[in-house]
């Protein structure tokens, strides 16, 4: 470990220190505003450091972490997403008295875990990052302390524990077979021996099960709606975006190294998972009246779409995944953001009926919500369209016709429930909703998200260039 290693780790160190700073400050002075400002400045600083490091020589720390452009891109994405989520949480938490220091500390630790996952190149850091993320989330999910929140927290705890045991066992098997826990060495050993032994295959598969739980892929998905419903809306956004994105970034790195797509058996398993996720997610969302659950089902389907790019090969696959994830992050945070600014910590506005005629009282919010839903559906001039376009072209390039077909059919199915919500927003209702004052930080955050959504739809080239640098480091 030398000085340059330390510089590479700056973003992680900043996040960790701000978590500690908040703890120390709260010994002397407890105020919600101070905590939120500290969390936001920590994330902002970490984001800027990440941006500064982008494109520099990749650094490796004790074989555990690889800070390359790929890792930095995703770290930047996670920090920015958490920044938006923190801004949304501020107004949300304010509706409930208290200084909420635990909320912000846990959020910082969770995003630290995600950043570690993005940079991880070793099973140890993989597991460490994952547990940092999960353990913070148990508490955050149950943060509202109501009946449903506690239930959601416990459910997540039990099932995440189960999936972690799968993951750990899988790692053990791979280690037993290859004698190493470092990704690149595993890759060179397994490709040198050219044998995929029973233990090796089983190990990799169990890792897929563990990751599949975090990604909420069918059949490991059932916790999603319950957890999204029970947790505070901004935390649902976090679980849907940063937590999933981190695991996806990691498995994309690991599985690209060991070239799992080339193995027909795994390819089959992934194909089945992808198609099942698309259909299950979209079909469950069809007649759902709880918007948080709709978004949960929709996110299951979106991860299924994302597997199309994962299964295609070449640099286009990584470009497609990165762009789609970015678009998906903006969209889902924007959608949960609208729910957040309309909700109070003790009473969330989550039912479709509560959104009827929103356009009359809150034209801005219904505009943002509409834009987000259109982006989910992949309508042109939104980021979601370009993301989906990339997925399809990546799939077509690799001739994954079954997956493309399934993606197209599912896009059609999904439009039904997106439009169902949009129609409700613009419905003319006889009695107007009570106009509630909107929190400033949250409103700024969702307006910025909408602006980014349109910008990426019309002028995506800057991001694409960034992603191509990212893809080059991995490919």
């Amino acid at each position: 470990m030398n000085a340059s290693d330390l510089i590479d780790l700056f973003p992680l160190i900043i996040i960790a220190s701000f978590a500690i700073i908040i703890m120390i400050v709260n010994i002397f002075y407890r105020k919600h505003e101070v905590n939120a400002v500290l969390a936001i400045s920590g994330l902002l600083l970490a984001f800027m450091t990440t941006a500064g490091l982008f494109g520099s020589v990749p650094g490796r720390t004790a074989n555990l972490l690889t800070i390359d452009s790929y890792a930095l891109f995703f770290m930047g994405l996670f920090f920015a997403a958490t920044l938006a989520i923190t801004a949304l949480s501020y107004g949300y938490n304010k509706t409930h008295e208290g200084s909420h220091e635990a909320f912000y500390i846990l959020l910082l630790i969770a995003v630290l875990g995600s950043a570690v996952l993005a940079a991880s190149s070793h099973f140890v850091s993989f597991f460490l990052g994952l547990e940092m993320l999960s353990i913070s989330l148990y508490a955050l999910i149950a943060y509202r302390r109501g009946e449903r929140s506690n239930e959601a927290g416990i459910k997540y705890l039990v099932l995440a524990g189960l999936s972690s045991s799968f993951l750990l066992f899988g790692m053990a098997l791979v280690y037993a077979q290859t004698g190493t826990m470092e990704f690149s060495e595993i890759a060179s050993v397994s490709s040198a021996s050219q044998v995929r032994s029973l233990a090796m295959s089983s190990g990799v598969l169990l890792i897929i099960v563990g990751a599949g739980f975090k990604l909420a892929l069918v059949p490991f998905h059932m916790w999603t709606p319950d957890v999204y419903e029970g947790s505070p809306a901004p935390i649902s956004a976090f679980v849907a975006t940063v937590s999933k994105g981190a695991v996806f970034a990691l498995i994309l790195r690991f599985f690209t190294l060991i070239d799992i797509q080339a193995d027909g058996r795994f390819f089959l398993v992934f194909t089945i998972i992808a198609v099942a996720s698309m259909f299950t997610g979209n079909l469950l969302a069809l007649y759902q009246n709880n918007i948080k659950r709709v978004l949960a089902y929709s996110s299951i389907a979106h991860l299924g779409y994302l597997l199309v790019a994962f299964l295609s090969n070449g640099a286009l696959a990584i470009t497609a995944v990165s762009f789609y994830l970015t678009a998906y992050f903006i969209t889902i945070i924007g959608a949960f953001g609208v729910i957040t600014v309309l909700s109070r910590a003790d009473e969330e506005r989550e039912f479709l009926d509560q959104y009827r005629g929103l356009a009359q009282t809150h034209p801005l919010l219904s505009g943002v919500f509409t834009a987000m839903l259109l982006s989910f559906a992949g309508i042109p001039l939104t980021a979601g369209f370009i993301g989906k376009f990339y997925l399809v072209s990546a799939g077509v390039n690799s001739a994954l016709w079954l997956l493309i077909f399934s993606l197209v059919v599912n896009s059609a199915i999904s439009i039904f429930y997106y439009l169902r919500i949009i129609a409700a927003l613009y419905e003319a209702v006889p009695e107007k909703m009570i106009e509630i004052p909107l929190p400033l930080a949250g409103t700024i955050a969702i307006s910025a998200l909408m602006l980014m959504l349109m910008c990426l739809g019309i002028y995506p080239s800057q991001l694409i260039r960034l992603i191509q640098i990212t893809a080059a480091t991995l490919g």
Binding site: S163, L205, V209, F220, P225, R265, L268, I386, I464
Partner: protein, 628 residues
Amino acid sequence: MKSLLWLIPALPLAGFAVLLFSGSRLSNRLAGLIGTASVGLSAIISLLIAIDFISEPPVGNAYTQVLWRWLFIGGFSPEVALRLDALSLTMIMVITVVAFLIHLYSTEFMAEDEGYRRFFSYMNLFVGSMSVLVLADNMLLLYLGWEGVGLCSYLLIGFWYSDSYNGYAARKAFIVTRIGDTALIIGIFLLFTSLGTLQIQELIARASLMWPVNSALAIAASALLLGGALGKSAQLPLQTWLPDAMAGPTPVSALIHAATMVTAGVYLIARTHALFDLAPSIKMLVAVIGAATLLISAFSALAQSDIKRILAYSTISQIGYMFLALGVGAWSSAIFHFMTHAFFKALLFLGAGAVILSLDHEHNIFKMGGLKKELPFTFYVFFAGAASLSALPLVTAGYYSKDLILHDAFTSPSGSPLLWAVGILGAFLTALYTFRLLFIVFFGEPKTEVTSKPGLKIKLPLFVLAVFSITAGFVETTSSLGDIHILSGFLVSSLPPLTKPAEPNASQIEIAGAFAPLAGILIAYLIYYRNPGISESLAGLRFGNTLKSFWFSGWGFDNFYDRFFVRPLFWIVMANRNDFLDKPFLGIASTLKGVNRLLALSQSGKVRWYAFAITMGAVLALCAVILP
């Protein structure tokens, strides 16, 4: 200077965004200012760019500004790029200047209207979209502009949406032009799949290399593009929407349905003229459609009594002249007539608007009369416009452009005396219906009281347009009248000149071209000024009456479409109430609903079941990996 090109569409679009998002926080005065100033700045920039372009022509006489690349996936990388060449420069100058004048006019015309801000936001969106259409460097961007102007047309025709007829007119315009738009997008797909690019210049270069003259692909592609042009430009058989489009506010009729949007089809064909050169049969079809349209709608204009509908039929007819010119390969003559037409038709519509406003929204010309005394200014500018539309020889712009088209229709290798004769007859009718309108409205006994008089913001645009309507023709004259070729000389880098053999009868053609309008004016004078009884006794005859109502209904096209398309479709819909074609779709829907129910059962909320599912999933996946 040329690097400011992007501002021409960007400024009105920015104005649109500001007006859209500011809501009711802006005062009407400020909203009008933003709307007008953004377009005015665009007009100034396009004039400055024109000066720059002419004084220092860029390499290859074209300047391309690549703003950004929208996507790059494999071989597909459409750019957001603007192309400035002689053709697009001519178009953009006329569009922005006329649009600015009409915006200025609207600040007074719409002053009392509740939807003032909404009006200016739509108008700005229109000007932005139209600039994108004209400046687009590739077909995708052109199509974006094409759909944008269609949307604005729909929104503005139905601007006064509380009256259901206006909504009907808006829908009719949207649906009828959609038929053409569909042809256009299929044409674009065809061009992309067979030539592998969307960039217009590249497209044309490749087409000229790869496709022989009269090849099937060239014919199909140009026919599809023509389909798009017919819808947008209201030509036979898709002309029926334009008269109804007059339901919109008058400035809208002037800007969108006379000066600019309806000529988008002319621009499209001129832009892709090389494709039409590869398909002589389709080119011929363009000329025939143009000739037929100009004649049919000129007759219809004769029978109308609504001042705006007369002008609407006249617009269809004048665009018919442009199509005639395009069809005989006289590309620059078509653009010349587009330019003069934009000036005098905008003038006539705005003048009509001033009359309508002064008479408290009276549209019927038979309830007007004697307005020359009450509204002298309006009369003189309207007279200038009417003279230009009638192609009054030598002194008006309309004469030079129309005369050129008639000349080309005769002498072009693909022209014929018959096309020329139709054009001459049309010119005669044009003068007849125009001066019928003028005599009835401005002479005779006053019938409706003048309630208000136009103010400065209405007079100024009218005056400027009147000057243009008279003088804009001197940029291009035939060999016997000075032989000036400023416009076609300028356009030659984009549009090849017509190679025509020396015509021995040139002077006779010109004399006929000059006398037809004079004859029309004379007859209008005799019938409608000297002896107004004649027209009534003519119409009183059985035959005259039938003919009149036939012309009044626009040759029964609406009736025909209603009987042969709309009603049979409705009949099928009624007969097929429980749509059998819907059955499979309903089946899909109910299947999905069932699956939804089943899957919902799996979301039991029970942790043990969830854990079981995870474990079973793992076991099954293990089997799939280990067993083979």
